[in-house]
C-alpha cells in the first residue's frame, strides 16, 4: 500500500491518487479532533488526574525506595561499576595533573598551553591531516584569549575520556547488534532510554553510587554519548553489501576473518562518523555534568546563570561552541582521510612520517618549555578578549530589559492566550480516557497498527506513573513548539535549499545554535519573556529548529534537478514550485524533521522546567534538589521517556507509510547528531 503512495508521489501525473489518499487520512484526523473537541466541551475538567507539585503518591514512594536500594546496593554490578569509576577517576586525575591542576608544591600544571597546543596539533596532523591543524591551533589560542584555557582543557579531557570509553564499549556492542537481530531488538530500547531519559534524573544517584569526582561527570556524559557509537556501528556493519560478504565467504573465511578483513574496513568510514556523533553528544553534556562538579567549561556557564551574568555565561558558551566546531571538523576530516587513505594507497607515506617526526621534536621542545617557564604555561593575560565581549553582552542584556521587554511580553501574552492555552485546555483538560483515546486514534490513522501499539503501551505507562496531567501539559508544550519548529524549518529550509549562498550564510548560525549550551540563551529569553511556558518553548525552538532546518534544506536540495527543470518548462511559478513540487517531493525529509524536532524539543523539557514550564520538567528538577521528591522526579523522567518513544514511533511509522525511503539528503551527517530513529529501526 505504502509503496503505491510513494510511487504516485514520484510523478506529477499520478499525484492525484496520492492526494486523495492523504486527504482521506487528513479527513479522518480532522474528524477525530472535531469529536475530541465536542466530547471535551461536555467533560472539560473532569478526571484530568491533576496533582499538586507537592503531592506524592504510592508509585513515587516505590521509585524513591528503588533508587535508595540501588544507591545502597552491594553486588557484582555495582562493584564493577565502582571499579570502572575508580579507573576513570584515576585516568582523569592523571590528565588533569598533566594539563590543568597543579600538583603541590608546583604552582602550575606540568604541561602548559604551549605544550598542549603543540601536542594537540601533532595528534590532529596524525589522524586528520594538515588543514584541521590550523583549526585546532586557532581554537586553543581562542580558549586562552577568552580567558578559559584551563576550563577548556578540563572539558577536553573529560570529553575525550568519556568518548574513548564510549567507543571501547560501544563499537563491540554495535558490531554484535549489526550481526544479530535479537541483540538489536534487546539493545535498541535500552539506547532509546539512555538518550531520552533526562540526565537530571540519574545525576544524584550516580554521584552517590560513584562518589564525587570527575568520573561522575564522565559517566553521566558516557550514558548520553554511547548510544550514537553503538547505533552508527550497527548501521555500518549492516550496510556492508551482502554480495561482498558472500563473495569473500566463498573463499572459506572464518567469522573473525570476515569481520577483520571485510566488514570493519568497509564500515570504517561510517564508524568514524559515529565517533563524530559521539563526540558532539558528549560535549552537549558539559553543562549538565557541571551540576555534580564536573570540571570544564560548564562550570563558568552555570556560575553565570546562577549570578544572572549573561556576559560570563556567553563567553564560556562561546568557548564550548569553538570546541564543538574544532572537534566536529577534526573528526570529519579524519573520516574523509580514512576513506582517501583506503583508496589511494601509501605513496605519501614517507613525507608524512618526516613531518610527524619533526613535529614530534617541536612538540617535545614546546612541552619542555611549558613545563619550565610560566610564559609558556599560563596563557598570557595580555591577549584577553573575553572581558571585552563579556561587558558588551552585559550591556546588551541591560538594553533588552529596559527597551525591549514590554513589547516581547505582549507577544508572549497574545501567543499564550490565543494558541497555547486553548490547545493545553483540550489536551490536558480532557478526562484522561478521552485524551488517551484521541491520541490512540491519531496514532493509528497516522502510523497504523504498530504506532497504535506503541501509543497504547506508552499511555498506559503514563497513567500508572500518576503524572498524567503533567505529562499532557508537557506533551502540549512539545507539540506546539514542534509546530513552530516546523514552520521555521519550512521557511528557512526551503530558502536554504533553493540557494547555495543562503545555505552557506545561514549554516554557521545553525551550528552555533545547536552547540551553544541552552543555559546561555536562557538568560536573555527570560529577560525578554519572563518565567512561563512560552519562554520554555522559545528555548526548545532555538535548540530544535536548526536540526529541522538542515533536514528540510537537504531534502529540498535532494529533489532531482530533472523534475525541477521539467516543472519549470511547464511554466510553474516560484510559489507553485515550492508548494507543488519541492515540498511534496521532500516529504520524507519533512517527516524526519518533524520526528527530530519533536525529540529535540522533548530533550529541552527539563530546562524548560527551570524557566516556568512547570509540569514534568519541574518535577525532575525538584526531584534532583529535594531528596524526598527524588521518586517523583524519577517517575517524571520515565514519563518523558515514554512520551519520547511514543512520539518517535508515531512519526517514524507514519513517515514509513508515506514514503518508503527518505531522500538521501535527509541522512546528511550533521543533522543526525542526536538520534537515529529511522536509521536504527528501518535497516
Amino acid at each position: 500500500m505504502s509503496s503505491v503512495a510513494t510511487r504516485s508521489a514520484r510523478t506529477l501525473d499520478t499525484g492525484l491518487v496520492a492526494t486523495l489518499r492523504s486527504r482521506w487520512r487528513l479527513v479522518s484526523l480532522l474528524a477525530v479532533i472535531v469529536i475530541w473537541v465536542l466530547v471535551w466541551t461536555f467533560t472539560r475538567g473532569d478526571s484530568t488526574l491533576a496533582i499538586q507539585a507537592s503531592d506524592r503518591t504510592d508509585i513515587h514512594g516505590w521509585f524513591l525506595r528503588l533508587t535508595t536500594s540501588i544507591e545502597e546496593a552491594n553486588n557484582v554490578v555495582t562493584a564493577a561499576l565502582a571499579a570502572l569509576a575508580d579507573a576513570m577517576d584515576a585516568t582523569l586525575l592523571f590528565f588533569q595533573h598533566l594539563f590543568t591542576v597543579p600538583e603541590f608544591p608546583r604552582p602550575l600544571p606540568q604541561v602548559g598551553w604551549l605544550g598542549a597546543l603543540a601536542l594537540a596539533s601533532l595528534a590532529t596532523y596524525a589522524v586528520a591531516g594538515w588543514r584541521p591543524v590550523l583549526i585546532v591551533a586557532a581554537s586553543f589560542l581562542l580558549f586562552g584569549m577568552l580567558g578559559y584555557y584551563p576550563d577548556a582543557m578540563d572539558l577536553l579531557i573529560v570529553t575525550s575520556v568519556a568518548v574513548a570509553v564510549a567507543l571501547l564499549l560501544g563499537i563491540p556492542i554495535g558490531i554484535w547488534m549489526g550481526h544479530s537481530k535479537v541483540v538489536s531488538a534487546i539493545v535498541t530500547p535500552i539506547l532509546d532510554v539512555m538518550q531520552t531519559m533526562p540526565s537530571f534524573v540519574y545525576l544524584l544517584p550516580f554521584s552517590i553510587l560513584f562518589g564525587i569526582g570527575p568520573a561522575v561527570a564522565a559517566l553521566v556524559t558516557l550514558v548520553y554519548a554511547m548510544p550514537p557509537a553503538v547505533r552508527v556501528t550497527a548501521y555500518a556493519i549492516r550496510a556492508v553489501s551482502s554480495t561482498t560478504i558472500e563473495a569473500t565467504d566463498s573463499l572459506g573465511q572464518s567469522r573473525w576473518q570476515r569481520l577483520r578483513n571485510v566488514e570493519l574496513p568497509m564500515a570504517k568510514r561510517t564508524i568514524i562518523v559515529g565517533v563524530n556523533q559521539t563526540t558532539m553528544a558528549a560535549l552537549s553534556m558539559a553543562t549538565i555534568a557541571a551540576y555534580v562538579d564536573g570540571p570544564g567549561l560548564g562550570q563558568p556557564v552555570l556560575e553565570g546563570l546562577r549570578r544572572g551574568q549573561l556576559g560570563k555565561a556567553f563567553v564560556a558558551g562561546l568557548a564550548i561552541v569553538i570546541m564543538a566546531i574544532m572537534l566536529d571538523r577534526t573528526t570529519t576530516a579524519a573520516s574523509i582521510r580514512a576513506e582517501t587513505a583506503a583508496r589511494s594507497g601509501r605513496d605519501r607515506g614517507r613525507q608524512r612520517w618526516v613531518v610527524l617526526g619533526v613535529g614530534a621534536a617541536v612538540a617535545a621542545v614546546a612541552v619542555y618549555l611549558s613545563n619550565g617557564y610560566s610564559w609558556a604555561n599560563e596563557f598570557p593575560a595580555g591577549l584577553d578578549i573575553g572581558t571585552w565581549i563579556q561587558l558588551r553582552v552585559d550591556d546588551f542584556s541591560g538594553w533588552l530589559r529596559a527597551d525591549f521587554s514590554s513589547v516581547t511580553t505582549s507577544i508572549q501574552e497574545r501567543f499564550t492566550l490565543s494558541f497555547l492555552n486553548p490547545v493545553q485546555d483540550l489536551i490536558a483538560g480532557s478526562p484522561w480516557f478521552v485524551a488517551g483515546a484521541a491520541i490512540c486514534a491519531i496514532a493509528w490513522i497516522a502510523g497504523g497498527n504498530r504506532a497504535l501499539g506503541a501509543a497504547v503501551i506508552c499511555l498506559t505507562g503514563l497513567y500508572f506513573l500518576d503524572l498524567w496531567n503533567n505529562a499532557m501539559i508537557t506533551l502540549t508544550a512539545v507539540l506546539v513548539a514542534t509546530v513552530v519548529v516546523m514552520l521555521l524549518g519550512i521557511v528557512v529550509g526551503v530558502w536554504m535549499g533553493r540557494s547555495k549562498n543562503v545555505d552557506r550564510a545561514v549554516r554557521p548560525f545553525l551550528d552555533a545554535a545547536q552547540t551553544l549550551p541552552p543555559f546561555v540563551y536562557l538568560i536573555p529569553v527570560l529577560v525578554l519573556f519572563g518565567a512561563n511556558r512560552f519562554t520554555a518553548m522559545v528555548a526548545g525552538v532555538i535548540y530544535a529548529a536548526p536540526v529541522a532546518i538542515k533536514l528540510i534544506a537537504d531534502g529540498v536540495r535532494g529533489v532531482s534537478a530533472t523534475t525541477v527543470e521539467a516543472a519549470e518548462a511547464a511554466g510553474t511559478s516560484r510559489l507553485q514550485m515550492i508548494w507543488k513540487v519541492q515540498l511534496p517531493m521532500a516529504r520524507g525529509a519533512l517527516l524526519l524533521a518533524a520526528n527530530q524536532g519533536l525529540l529535540y524539543v522533548l530533550s529541552m523539557v527539563v530546562i524548560g522546567g527551570m524557566v516556568g514550564a512547570g509540569a514534568l520538567g519541574f518535577d525532575i528538577v525538584y526531584g534532583f534538589r529535594q531528596s524526598e521528591f527524588a521518586g517523583k522526579g524519577l517517575a517524571a523522567g520515565v514519563s518523558i521517556v515514554l512520551i519520547g518513544i511514543m512520539l518517535d514511533r508515531i512519526t517514524t511509522y507514519s513517515a514509513r507509510r508515506s514514503s518508503s525511503a527518505a531522500p538521501a539528503g535527509a541522512r546528511a551527517k550533521n543533522t543526525t547528531r542526536k538520534r537515529f530513529p529511522l536509521l536504527s529501526s528501518s535497516s
Binding site: L204, I212, R306, G308, W375, R401, I523, F618
Partner: protein, 323 residues
Amino acid sequence: MRVTRSRAVLAVVAVSSVLAVSACGGGDIKNETAAGGEDCGTINMAINPWVGYEASAHVVGYIAESKLGCTVDYKDLDEQVSWQGFAEDEVDVVIENWGHPELQKKYFKSPGGDGSAMSAGPNGNEGIIGWYVPPWMVEKYPDILDWKNLNKYADLFKTPESGDKGTLFDGDPGFVTNDEALVKNLDLNYKVVFAGSENALIEGFRNAEENKTPMLGYFYAPQWFLSEVPLEKVELPKYTEGCDADPEKVACDYPVYTLDKIVATDFAESGSPGYDLVKNFQWTNDDQNEVAKMIAEDQMDPDDAAQKWVEENPDKVNAWLGQ
C-alpha cells in the same frame, strides 16, 4: 631526501631560537612553589548553588588560606550531594545549611544516621522564607503587605499562566514550599506557577520593579538580590510551633530558619585550625548580602570580594580567629 633534510634543519633552527628566547624570558617555574601551609592541610569546602552561600564560603576560605595557611578546595555541589560527600571524605564543610531534617537523620549520629557529619553551630544568618512584592507596589498599594488584602489585588497579578486568578510565582527547586496548600487553606484567589529557578524569580522581580509591573512571588533572605531591589514581605498568619506539621493543612507563615554550619566529623576531630575558624564563623544577613552583591552584581571574583570584605572588617575576622 633533500626536502627532508632542509625541513629538519629548519626545525632545528626554530627549536633552538625558541630555546634562546625562553632562556632570556625568565619566569622559571622550578624556582617557585605554590602557596599553602603545613599545619592546616586541605579544607574541602562545598559550594552550594546560590550566591549567598558562595559569599560565606569564600570569606571563610579566604581567611583560612591567607591567615591560617590552609589549602581550600572548593567543590560545586548540590546540597544532597554535599552531605553525601561527608561520608566519602570528599567534603569537610557546608557553610550554610537550611534545616534538612531528612539529611540529618541520614548523616547525624543523634537521630540515628551514620555519624559522618555534625553541626558546627549557627552561622548567624537567619533564613526568612515568604511571599514578596517589589517595592513600587507597596508605595502604590500600602495595604498589600497583609495577606488578607491579597484577594482584593488578585486581578493585578493575573497572567496568561493563571487564567482568571492571580499568579503566585514559586519554584526555586532548592526550597520546600507549602504554597499550594497555603493558597487553598487561606482561600486565596491565586494559582501557584512554578518559575523553576532562582534565576527566573530574580529576572521576574527585576523586571517588575524596573517596568512597574505587578509580581507576587516566593523569595527568601539572605539573598544578594534584596540589596539590589529591596523586596517587601507579605505578612502571612503568624507561625506557631507545629502549625506546619501537616503539609496538607498548613495555613501559617514559614518558620524562621537558623542557618547552621555542617562539618564532617573527621574534620572536626582532626584538630585543624580550619575547624576552629569554621566553628567561630558568624555574621549577619547584611554582611552576607554585601559580599554576595559584590560577586553577583559587580562581577567580582569571589576571592577578591572576600578579601575586600575581610580587609574592611578586621574586628569580626579577628574574633573568628580567636584573637
